[in-house]
């Protein structure tokens, strides 16, 4: 479960990114975060995995208050959150398998456990046949699937995606959405910032619209609501 209580965020340069947001997202929900560029979507997303700290207010993610987590505990907190980016963030010198295993290696899982889990998620994203390929041998969609696989390999309760289809063509974007829906079916909360009107209007989910650092719209089966 994710809960924001009266959250403000002002950057050191004076920019007020978030101006008092209170919101609640239940475990297993799927929510789109929409809004124009510079509205505060990225800050909203970044605070969820403690890339940014709120200036005031509380953010509860998986029972932990993000605003109050000590720096040294942040790595432990992140092990229960998966993050997916527009630019995939894969390591070019590692194979598909190694890229996914990397996430488990750095949290010191046993080799047997790593192998088991990596093969499981490879199955889920349908990339088992390409596990020995390097990222630059894959299409954009395949790379994003690897990135999703990595984000869920340690079975997080929440997956946060920042414009995951931003770099992909429409066809591929649908494939990616299929995977997110599949993950969501397994009771994983999904929070997805997006500009993709097609997707939001077709795969109907909760829509949280942010403008000028405030939630201006929050609908259970919402529409994108912005032009193009």
């Amino acid at each position: 479960m994710i809960e924001m209580q009266n959250v403000y965020k002002t950057y050191p340069n004076g920019v007020k990114a978030i101006n008092g947001i209170s919101i609640k997202i239940n475990q297993g929900e799927f929510a789109y975060i929409v809004g124009p560029s510079g509205a505060g979507k990225s800050t909203f997303i970044k605070m969820m995995y403690r890339e940014e700290k709120p200036s005031s207010g509380n953010i509860i993610v998986n029972g932990a208050n993000v605003a109050k987590i000590k720096d040294s505990r942040v790595p432990i907190f992140r092990r229960h959150i998966g993050v997916v980016f527009q630019d995939f963030k894969l390591l070019p010198k590692l194979t598909v398998y190694e890229n996914i295993a990397f996430a488990l290696e750095v949290i010191e899982q046993s080799p047997e456990e790593i192998k088991k889990r990596v093969l499981e998620v490879l199955e889920l994203v349908k990339l088992k046949g390409k596990m020995d390929s390097f990222p630059d041998e894959l299409s954009g969609g395949e790379q994003q699937r690897v990135s999703i696989a990595r984000s869920i390999v340690n079975s997080p309760k929440v997956v946060i995606a920042d414009e995951p289809t931003g770099n992909l063509d429409p066809e591929t974007s649908w494939e990616i959405m299929d995977i997110f829906e599949e993950i969501n079916k397994r009771d994983t909360t999904i929070l997805m910032a997006t500009h993709n009107r097609e997707i939001v209007n077709t795969i109907r989910k909760r829509v949280i619209a942010i403008e000028n650092g405030n939630v201006v719209r929050d609908e259970v089966r919402g529409e994108y609501g912005y032009e193009g």
Binding site: D71, V74, K89, K93, F102, V106, E108
Partner: protein
């Protein structure tokens, strides 16, 4: 830390040495050049120090006693010399002994002096050694005023000049070594910074998937250590080789003109020192560089 994890850090640390081949070469070369200079300077300074000490210990004041002095006068003079607080030892050398020393020091030609044995023209001499070689001039001046001190000799100007030169050389050496060490540290920390920047993405992803800071730091730490140790290999080899040749081949040719520190414990000490410095600055450099990336 689990053994498997440490193995991984070791593997990652050494793997990136090969992966960043040219960077590794550049960093290790920087260490090599610096350590080479540090090593040569250190060797030079230690030996200069050694030679200076030998010369210093040889510096003595020779007080020629006036021929008119009686045995009591000599005794009184010795007591006075002993009483000077900078004085370490006072040794009496009779004029007969002086003549014998003179004859011996001249070798075959010394025989020419033998006729003087019956009528020795030399004076009795007090050989005075000071506790601090630098006090020689002051003490000599003081002794000159004593009655029956016919002549007071010490290497006067030469000794003073030598001391000045040695002091300056020593200070310059120390400053240079410190400066070089600092430069080496800066170079290594900078090169490792470049390595880390090149792997910025990797660190970012590690942070994202929940690797702890120490987990992220270790491979770089090991890489830095390896770089430093790698860089110290050539300087150590050069110093062992060159110094052995100097000590065993070159020094005997000068036949006692100068005396180097014995090669055996010395090169080992210098090698260990270089290895230690290399390793330390490597680790220090990497710690310094990684810190920036682990903030927040």
């Amino acid at each position: 830390m689990k053994a498997r994890t440490f193995g991984r850090h070791l593997r990652e640390g050494s793997k990136s040495l090969g992966r960043n081949g040219w960077m590794t070469f550049a960093s290790a070369s920087a260490v090599t050049v610096t350590l080479l200079l540090v090593g040569v300077f250190f060797m030079l300074m230690m030996n200069l120090n050694h030679i200076a000490k030998l010369i210093e210990n040889d510096v003595e004041i020779r007080v020629h006693v006036d021929a008119a002095a009686t045995a009591d006068d000599r005794k009184a003079m010795k007591e006075k010399l002993d009483a000077i607080k900078q004085v370490d030892t006072v040794t009496f050398s009779s004029k007969d002994k002086e003549l014998k020393d003179l004859i011996n020091s001249m070798g075959d030609e010394g025989q020419a002096f033998e006729p003087f044995e019956q009528q020795n023209p030399l004076n009795d001499v007090f050989v005075v050694k000071t506790k601090e070689p630098t006090d020689v001039a002051k003490v000599a001046k003081q002794i000159e005023k004593y009655p029956y001190a016919a002549k007071v000799q010490y290497g006067q100007d030469q000794v003073e000049k030598l001391f000045k030169v040695l002091k300056v050389a020593r200070n310059i050496g120390v400053v240079l070594i410190l400066g070089l060490l600092f430069t080496a540290m800066f170079l290594i920390s900078n090169t490792i910074k470049i390595t880390i920047v090149a792997r910025r993405e990797e660190i970012e992803i590690m942070r994202l998937v929940g690797a702890t800071n120490s987990f992220i730091r270790w491979p770089f730490f090991i890489e830095g250590l390896f770089l430093g140790v790698l860089g110290s290999i050539v300087p150590i080899a050069v110093i062992i080789g060159v110094y052995s040749v100097l000590y065993n081949e070159v020094q005997p040719k000068f036949d006692g003109f100068f005396e180097l520190l014995p090669a055996f414990p010395f090169v080992l000490q210098v090698s260990l020192l270089l290895l230690l410095i290399g390793g330390l600055i490597g680790m220090w450099g990497s710690t310094l560089s990684i810190r920036k990336f682990l903030r927040k």
